[in-house]
């Protein structure tokens, strides 16, 4: 029974109908195929493919490097967001626009650029290898690429929250005798923690499934430097649909879990803000 509030505005049936139709065609049918196909493979084969050693190694790399990248972005993303919002310096507006680069730049371009940058003969790779650090074709390189990818998520989620901070609250803390550092830690930080966590979670979610920017720098040696999406690709090329689907479903479930976590975080922080 469709019980909706009658609205004077026209077009409900048309727009909703078209939206649902389009959505089904482009999103739901393919996703249903994923589930149907997974079901058709049988649980045993599915499970075997999902936890095969090669797949497990790939999960470790994808999730681990994503976590490392998210952690780096947590620190530096906060720094960048703070600096962009609170301070004035020449070129600030250009830098601000630039933060979206990882979001706007095609992943393949980022991939080859980062690889060339960190290769042993690269602009950064050379000084680093002089220090004994090999970046390209190692998990460290994967981490660097995933840091690049996740940066805008942390910065862009934090910026509006920092902008919305009431300067009077900080002034009150100062008038009560708190030093700047104490004010920052006790007053400012707690206020931005929900947004911070959300941004980090988003960066993590994006990094876990990232392919284009990583596949060049990773080296792609099975069991060592192979990311999960590549496992899917390889199996697909070998017509091992079952194997590919298994890993895909695992990653999809992980993404949905993270998505659910992010939503819960946002709902929680919205409720907190409403209470205040």
């Amino acid at each position: 029974m469709l019980r909706r509030r009658h609205s004077v505005l026209p077009g409900f049936g048309l727009t909703l109908g078209f939206s649902v139709f389009y959505l089904s065609l482009v999103v739901l049918v393919p996703l249903a195929a994923l589930l149907l196909k997974s079901a058709s493979f049988g649980w045993a084969a599915f499970r075997a493919a999902a936890v095969a050693p090669r797949a497990m190694a790939a999960y470790r790399l994808s999730f681990g490097a994503a976590a490392a990248g998210a952690a780096v972005n947590a620190v530096f993303g906060l720094l960048v967001a703070w600096v962009l919002v609170r301070y004035r310096f020449p070129g600030r507006r250009v830098i601000d626009a630039l933060v979206d680069l990882p979001f706007a730049l095609p992943t393949a371009v980022a991939g080859i650029a980062l690889t060339t940058l960190y290769a042993e003969t690269g602009w950064l790779g050379r000084p680093l290898s002089a220090l004994g650090l090999k970046v390209a074709f190692t998990p460290l390189g994967v981490g660097m690429a995933l840091t690049f990818i996740g940066l805008p998520f942390v910065v862009r989620t934090l910026q509006p929250v920092i902008e919305a901070l009431d300067p009077e609250v900080e002034e009150a803390a100062a008038s009560l005798g708190a030093g700047r550092a104490a004010t920052l830690v006790r007053v400012v930080l707690p206020a931005i923690v929900p947004a911070w966590l959300t941004g980090v979670a988003l960066a993590f979610a994006r990094a876990v499934g990232e392919y284009g920017s990583v596949v060049f720098i990773a080296g792609n040696m099975p069991m060592k430097t192979e990311i999960a999406p590549l496992v899917i690709m390889t199996r697909l090329e070998q017509y091992d649909y079952a194997g590919a689907t298994a890993v895909a479903v695992v990653m999809l479930l992980a993404s949905l879990l993270i998505l659910g976590g992010v939503n819960a975080l946002q709902a929680f922080s919205l409720r907190r803000a409403a209470v205040e």
């Binding site: 962009l84 080859i112 862009r156």
Partner: protein
Amino acid sequence: MARPTDEPRAVKALLIVGALGFLGIFLVLPLVLVFAQALEKGLSAYLAAVRERDALSALRLTLLTAAVAVPANLLFGLAASWAIARFDFPGRSLLLTLIDLPFAVSPVISGVIFVLVFGRLGLLGPWLQAHQWKVVFAVPGIVLATLFVTFPFVARELIPVMQAVGREEEEAAVLLGASGFQLFRRVTLPNVKWGLLYGVILCNARAMGEFGAVSVVSGHVRGLTNTLPLHVEVLYNEYQFQAAFAVASLLALLAIVTLAAKSLVEWRESSGEGRAPSAAGQRERTA
């Protein structure tokens, strides 16, 4: 804008340097490198690489894909945001979640699901083979995968803008006798135009730059089923670095134009009418 509660100047300077240093290493260097490598062998080599036959086919395919995906998703975005922002109905939150879905899914998985439907061993595989239709490893597959991946962009930008603008002007227009299309054209569109433009810009950037999903469904056939990003990969894997970066520089230019357009839209937004669009990558949930 000095405030009594500012950090000491030395600390500020240190933080600024730290932030800029981080951004310089992680963002600026790679971007500069693309252009440096592209022009390594001089301008004529650059132009030759860009004008090469397969590069041009890749460019054509990329433009074609965007030309299909962007208008289609624009239409969807308009329809969906009207339904969601202006009406209340059971399943509204579900619809919102589904719209956000492609964002949560890895690009490779986005490609995989289309292979599962249209691939040789997929759901519709045998049927397609019988009719001699190729979807996967052909252009239609690439367009479909791109559609899936860029699907949410316009809707996600429009929905918060429409909600912020509010429905009163539209109610007033209906009472004054406007029909559905008149209402939309004269009242709604002018109020949401910046959010709309912003969504289209982002959608286009992603449509042209998508790699992972397209890589899965493409046959990697040179000159036929390679988009620009795929062509970059091909050149790079063949160690034709300068050519790879030359083609990549086109995409980098696209990214820079996208960023510039985004800034322009935001600036027009804040200095004029309407509402600021949500920041790139920020997931604004509408309850």
